[in-house]
Amino acid sequence: MSPPTQGIWAIVLLVLTIAAAAVFGYRVLGLYRLLRLGRDESRVDQPWRRLRDEIVVYLGQRKLLKRPYYIRGVGHALIFWGFLVITWGSADLLLRGIVGWQLPFTDTAAYAWILDVFAVAVLVSVVVAVFRRAVLRPPRMHRVPEGYVILTLIGFLMLTLLVFESAAIAATRDELGQLLRVFPPVAAALAPLISTAAGPAIFAGAWWAHVVTILAFAVYLPRTKHLHIVTTLPNVFFRSSRPRGALQLIDDIENKETFGAANVRDFSWKQLLDGYTCTECGRCSDNCPALATGKTLDPQKIVLDIRDQLLREGPKLLADAKAETTAPAHWVATKPDELWACTTCAACVEACPVTIEHIDKIVDMRRSLTLMEGAAPPEAQRAMTNIERAGNPWGEARATRGDWAEGLGIPTFAEKPDAEYLYFVGCAASYDRRNQRVARALASILKSAGVSFAILGAAETCNGDPARRMGNEYLFQLQAQQNIETLNAAAVKKVITSCPHCFNTIANEYPQLGGNYEVVHALPLVKKLLAEKKLTLTGGAAAEIVAYHDPCYLGRHNGIYDAPRDVLDAVPGVTRAEIAPHNRERGFCCGAGGGRMWMEEKMGQRVNHRRVDQLLATKSGATKVASGCPYCLIMLEEGVGAKGVQESIKPVDVLELVAARLETS
């Protein structure tokens, strides 16, 4: 049926459309100008990967369809895909109504069918969404009236669509040939409810109601979290191309005057765009180990605080570019406990459906605290001073770094300059007695497999990970440069680490400072050695069930989920157990990342104790819990001790299980 916009009504529609577009444009421009208050940052490298992300993350809804959100994810995907299909039809309605042009496909039966099916799917999803909000009331979901307004608008759009489609069928059902046409199922089913005579009037009424609702939606959109349907597009495109585990480099640090973020202008425009894009879904908060254990940190709140600050203070800053005093801002100054509670475990980043970068914001604010104000917690300061002076956060003597290897016949690079691999031991395995056993286990594995390797001994120094994550970019760069000089002087090409933090920093962050090496964590290497039959394991040790704990910097930060499991599965006598559902990408942090290893944890439950609770709750019968990270090992040891279960479940490193079954020939 032709649109009910004869004569003057086409002009009315034109005026309404222009007015709505003008308000929408004005509001979006305002948001764009606020965004430009942020500092510059280039985010256009790797354009093809960015386009691929759009297809997978935006169109494909990949990050919505994740454990444990499959049902909600499907609901959202239906609304979203429906929205895409229906938007095409909406554009067609407006164009046809105003100038009579028709968009391709809109007059085909196939399109009418798709529209019809999606309209119903969206309606059902809206009903489910309202039910969740009103009845199920999931924790940490912001139930603001806005959500209901949006759902009502969407629902009303679908209803009016179905009504005018049905009315059109009703009005034309007697026309010649229409009986042969394949009608869309739902609209066709509803059509008999409408008499042929009433058809045109109902069609016109529903049509106008539908079109005006679309326009109202456009006007309302920029003021709501529903703006994410627009901002997700750029937010996904401009997402960081850094490896997830790599923090942003402060370039030319010696010549800068301010560091980190103390107010909205110190964040990059992309970080501000994150705020516009946040849908307030709460998935980040749902998965945050700090929030789960009663800390004040709430990753969603961090994102929204920055957005609200921008919307509140931004107009003043736009009016006066030098308005230093108008933004005392400073959630930095008032809420440092939140910022220091973060373990940088990336559970929030992993969970976010719209690729918001939470850790970067938190670290930027920590940078302001540490570098500008020297205001890190005292224990963190102690750790940093220790790294500066002793090359390790525990403040153990620099000269004794290689002592763990004494008597094991492990050469240093000075003694064996042609070694193929450098084993970068790391501070924990060098000094912590428990983790020294892991270093020795790895050494025995490498020897058994005939891998040519050497260590740096006392010439090794902390890779800088804790300093960087405590916000001390300067100290990180000093440490990194020192290690890069040492590695380059020794002509090191390949690096093995037993610590995921060493692995992440050397593999993902040292390239920022010109250190490029082939870095491998010990567990993927052991997997390879097993596959190549360079390593043979024997039975003998009793059968045991071993639960695997995913270290954040192996798993979420570097995507290494399978190699450690494959190695465990290859160990004779070991049956692997999972700490489900908190495993793989939903693995729960041990509590030690982000420099937390050296800070007091006074608020709420200790994160590692919660992790042990989760471990025990699986009732898997595991007598060991294995990980591939020295921090996890220390935290799990403390956790099982505090829970009094150290006799029944022993924390180990996967490497120790392997080393215990080496064929001794």
Binding site: I253, E254, E257, T258, F259, T370, L371, M372, E373, G374, A376, P378, Q381, R382, M384, T385, N386, R389, A390, G395, E396, A397, R398, A399, T400, Y474
Partner: protein, 257 residues
């Protein structure tokens, strides 16, 4: 108020020191040096005053070899206003160091001179009191807090089980035991500013000090004896016998009972 903090650069507490070949000094190659911890507390105490009253100035001075400049930079990075390096060999004795410091103090005319109660390398605790003597000023030890009062300062001293509050006229020499807060971590702008600051250098002769022959001499140094491995008693059921055996060992071998 005007503070002058005297500091000493010492081997960092994380360094495992070794006795040098001469058997009476330590091997200094490859050592990390830092400000003696009690001197760091003294700096923190002075800077806390500056936090509360921006008109406060905090100067630092050290008497030592050229590498001591790094320690002064660290103090500047923490927020001290200016620094003076008096170059002198490591071997110059404590009394001569005190004389040199006295000359610097007379020139700078501070209200309060702070020193750590002792340096963490030789633990002699000599320079502070000697400096007060050389100046003829009062000196108060074991400070944990200083507050400005009319005609002088109120000084908090830590004593067994509590603290005492003394008052003293200025100028005064205070020997610091601890500050309320841990010594501050320098901000990066502070570090950068400190790098650019000029540190004037003086030698002992310019201050009118001729180092005399040392009045005390280190004759020999040796590392503490290696700790032997512990002894583990096997528990095989008979707890009473085990306890008796433990008591016997503590009495006869360890001689602690």
């Amino acid at each position: 108020m005007k503070f002058l903090v005297c500091l000493k650069q010492v081997p960092d507490s994380t360094v495992r020191v070794k006795v040098a070949a001469d058997g009476k000094s330590i091997a200094t190659d490859g050592i990390t040096w830092s400000i003696s911890p009690y001197d760091e507390y003294a700096i923190e105490l002075a800077l806390e005053h500056k936090d509360g009253d921006p008109s406060t100035t905090v100067s630092v001075v050290t008497v030592g070899p050229a590498r001591s400049r790094d320690a002064l930079r660290q103090a500047l990075a923490m927020g001290c206003d200016d620094a003076t390096l008096v170059t002198a060999a490591d071997t110059v004795g404590g009394l001569d160091v005190a004389k040199a410091l006295a000359a610097v103090v007379k020139e700078a005319k501070p209200d309060v001179v702070l020193c750590g109660k002792q340096a963490s390398d030789d633990d002699q605790g000599l320079v502070g009191p000697a400096l007060a003597e050389a100046l003829g000023w009062p000196h108060v030890g074991m400070l944990t807090k200083i507050a400005a009062v009319a005609d002088g300062v109120e000084l908090w001293r830590e004593i067994e089980g509590g603290h005492e509050v003394w008052t003293a006229p200025t100028p005064v020499v205070g020997l610091v035991h601890k500050s309320a807060k841990e010594p501050r971590y320098p901000s990066l702008p502070g570090i950068m500013k400190a790098k650019k600051k000029e540190i004037p250098e003086k030698d002992l002769a310019a201050l009118g000090v001729t180092p005399g022959a040392p009045r005390a001499e280190v004759v020999a140094m040796e590392p503490p004896p290696q700790r032997g491995g512990g002894k583990i008693l096997k528990a095989d059921g008979d707890v009473k016998a085990l306890a008796a055996e433990l008591a016997r060992l503590l009495h006869e071998e360890a001689k602690v009972l």
